[in-house]
C-alpha cells in the first residue's frame, strides 16, 4: 500500500476574476521509502499541492479529491483533530519561503522545541522534558549544518539570513521524526556546497531510516541524482508520472520531453554555446488558462483533439495525459 496516494486532487481558489481551478486532477502516490520528485515551472502549482496535503490552505478555498489517502485513511474525510495528529506525527514540511513561514515574534528555539515530538521524550518532570527537547533540537540543528546552535535558537527569524532560516526549516521538519518529508524547494537560498550537504542528508535519512520524501524542486540535476520516481506538473495538471528511469529513457508527454531537453546533461550532441531547446511561449497566467490540454498553445504536437482535456492513461506504473504521446503509435 502506498504511503500517500492522491487521486484527482482539484483546488479552486477565488481571485479577482472569480473561481479558478489552480490544481486540476493532480494524481500521484508516494510509496514507503520512496523519493518522489515533483517538478514544474514556476507557478505550476507545486507549493499548492504541498499545502493541500497538510491542510495549510485558506479555509474558503475549495478542495476536492477522489481520494487523498494516508496509509489507507482518507485525509480529506476524517475528523480535523485526527488529521492534525497525522500531520503532526508523521508528515513534516519544509516550506518554500522560510521568511514568511516562521513566526516572526517567537525565537527559533521556541519554535523548534515546540515541534519535538513528545513520543521521543522519556518520562520525567516538566523541566527534564524541556532539557531533552533542547538536546534533540540541538542535534538536529547540527545535522543540517548549523553549528552555532545557541545564537540560532536565541534569534528571531528576521535576524538571520535566508539560507540559515532555510536550514532551520529543514531541522524543524526533521525534529518530529516524520515518515514522510515534504520538501518544497529546500535548497533554494543555498550555495552549492551546502546544497550538496543537505541532499546527502536527505539521501542518508532515506536509506537509514526509511524516510520517504516528496522532493519539490526546479533543479533537474539534483532531482535526477536523488529521486526514484518523478511527477511532472504543468499549469496545475499532472502531465506525466512514473519511475525515474522509465521517464528518462522514454518520456511520453511532449512537455516532459521539452523539460528533459532543457537540462544540458541530458541533451546529447550539443555544440558549445548553442541555445538550449525550449518550448515557445511562457506558462499562461491563471486568468487565461487554455481549455482542454493546458499545454495546447505551446505544444509542438498539438492537434484539433487537444481542446478536449486528455484522460489519464497508463502503461504499467507510468501515467500520462496526452492525446498524441511521443514514442507511442496514436490510435
Amino acid at each position: 500500500m502506498a504511503l500517500l496516494d492522491v487521486k484527482n486532487l482539484t483546488l479552486e481558489i477565488d481571485t479577482a476574476n472569480g473561481w479558478i481551478n489552480v490544481l486540476d486532477k493532480v494524481s500521484f502516490s508516494i510509496n514507503n521509502k520512496e523519493i518522489r520528485a515533483l517538478v514544474g515551472e514556476s507557478g505550476s502549482g507545486k507549493s499548492l499541492v504541498v499545502k493541500a496535503i497538510v491542510g495549510a490552505l485558506p479555509e474558503r478555498w475549495r478542495i476536492k479529491a477522489d481520494r487523498m489517502m494516508w496509509q489507507g485513511e482518507d485525509l480529506l474525510n476524517m475528523r480535523q483533530d485526527k488529521r492534525r495528529k497525522i500531520t503532526r506525527e508523521q508528515i513534516a514540511v519544509v516550506y518554500q519561503n522560510p521568511a514568511t513561514s516562521l513566526d516572526p515574534s517567537a525565537t527559533l528555539g521556541d519554535q523548534i522545541m515546540e515541534a519535538v515530538s513528545s513520543k521521543l521524550l522519556s518520562r520525567g518532570w516538566f523541566w527534564q522534558k524541556q532539557q531533552q527537547r533542547e538536546k534533540i533540537a540541538i542535534t538536529h540543528l547540527h545535522k543540517v549544518g548549523i553549528r552555532d546552535h545557541k545564537t540560532c535558537m536565541d534569534s528571531y527569524p528576521h535576524q538571520l539570513s535566508d539560507d540559515v532560516c532555510q536550514k532551520f526549516m529543514i531541522a524543524l521538519a526533521l525534529v518530529s521524526q516524520p515518515k514522510l518529508l515534504i520538501a518544497d524547494d529546500p535548497t533554494m537560498a543555498m550555495v552549492p556546497s551546502t546544497k550538496i550537504q543537505i541532499l546527502k542528508l536527505f539521501k542518508h535519512l532515506n536509506q537509514t531510516r526509511g524516510l520517504s520524501i516528496l522532493f519539490v524542486s526546479h533543479d533537474l540535476l539534483s532531482i535526477f541524482s536523488m529521486a526514484d520516481s518523478l511527477t511532472v506538473l504543468y499549469c496545475g495538471q499532472t502531465v506525466e508520472t512514473g519511475k525515474m528511469d522509465k521517464i528518462l529513457k522514454r518520456p511520453l508527454h511532449p512537455y516532459t520531453q521539452a523539460l528533459l531537453d532543457s537540462a544540458p546533461s541530458f541533451s546529447k550532441g550539443l555544440e558549445r554555446k548553442t541555445d538550449l531547446p525550449t518550448l515557445e511561449g511562457t506558462i499562461p497566467p491563471l486568468q487565461h488558462l487554455p481549455i482542454g490540454c493546458r499545454l495546447g498553445p505551446r505544444c509542438p504536437r498539438a492537434q484539433k483533439d487537444c481542446v478536449k482535456t486528455p484522460e489519464e492513461r497508463r502503461i504499467h506504473e507510468h501515467f500520462y495525459r496526452c492525446h498524441f504521446p511521443i514514442h507511442r503509435p496514436t490510435k
Binding site: R84, Y95, S105, T151
Partner: protein, 343 residues
Amino acid sequence: MLNYTIRRLNLLFFTLLVLSVVSFSLAFLFPGDSLTNLSGVKSPTPIQLASLQESYKVDSNYFWQYIAYLRLLLDGDWGISFTSQQPLLDDLSTTLPATVELSTYAFTLAILIGVPCGIIAGLKHHKIFDFSILSASLLGYSVPVFWLALILIQLFSLQLSLLPLSGRISLYFDVPIQSGFIIYDIFQAENIDKTAALRDVFFHLILPTLSIAIMTGTIIIRIVRRSVLNVLEQDYIKAAYGRGQTNAQVFWKHGLRNSLLPVLPLIVTQFTTLLTNAMIVEVIFSWPGIGNWLIQAIYQRDYPAIRGGMLMVSSLVIMFTISLDILIRVIDPTKGRKIRVAV
C-alpha cells in the same frame, strides 16, 4: 535601540520647545497687557510691577523675554490665575490628577472590553458573534460622547435613580486633598468610613467612565479584529496548522502575540483621544478635572489659566506618547537587528 531612543527624545525636546513658544505667544495674542497675561497679576502695586517687569524682562526683545519665561516655567512659576488668585501650578496639581484618574480607569476598561471582544470577533469571522460585535461597535463609535453621557444620566440617575448625577464623591465625606487621586486620598484620610467612601467613589465613577470608555472600546475592538484577521491569513499560521498544531495551540502560541504586537502603538494613541473625551465629559458630570477647569477659565477669560492649562495638557500628552513609543519598541522582538550565525 539607543539610536531610536535618542531620536525619540530629540523629538520630545523640540516638541516641548515649540509648545512653550506657542504658549508664550498666546500671552501676546490674547487681549490685554502681555505682562498681565503672563503673570496673572491684575492690578499690581508699583513694587510688584517692578519686580514682575524684572523677572519677565519686559525691557529686552522678544527673544530674551521668551528665555526669561522659559526659565520661570522651569522654576515652577507659571503665574497665577485671574479668578482664584492661586499659583497656576497649584490649581493644576489638584485638577490634573482627577482627569488622569478618570481617563486611566476608562482606558483600562476600554482595553478590557475591546481586546477580548476584538479577538473573538476576529476568530469568529463572519459568524453571528462577529456581526453583532461589529454592529454594536459601529453604534458606540458613532454616538457623540457628550450625548451618550446625557443619555446615561437621564437613564440611570434621573429615571432609575441608581447612580449619582455628578461629582466625584458625596459631599458628606470630608476627604482632604493630598495627591489629588481620590482613592489614594481616601486611604490617607482620617476620621471617615473608608469602605463607605470607596463605595461612594465607585458609584460616582461608573457613569463618566462608561461614557468615555465606550467609544475608545469600540475603536479598539475594530483595530484588534482587523489585526487578528490579518494574522490568521499569514503563512506562518497556515504553516503551524500544517505542522499539525491544534487550533488552540496555534492561537495562543502564534496568533495572539502577533496580532497584538503591531496594534499596540495604535491602541496606545487612542489614549489621547480618550483624554479629550474625558475633558468634555467632566463638564457634564461636574468632575473636578482639568477639562472642567479649562472651560471655567474660558468662560471667565482667565488668560493665564488657559495658557497654563493648554501647555500642561499638551506636554503631558506628548511625554506620555513618546515614552510609550520607546517602551513598545523595547518589548517588540520583531524590531531587532541582524545577527550572523556560523554555519
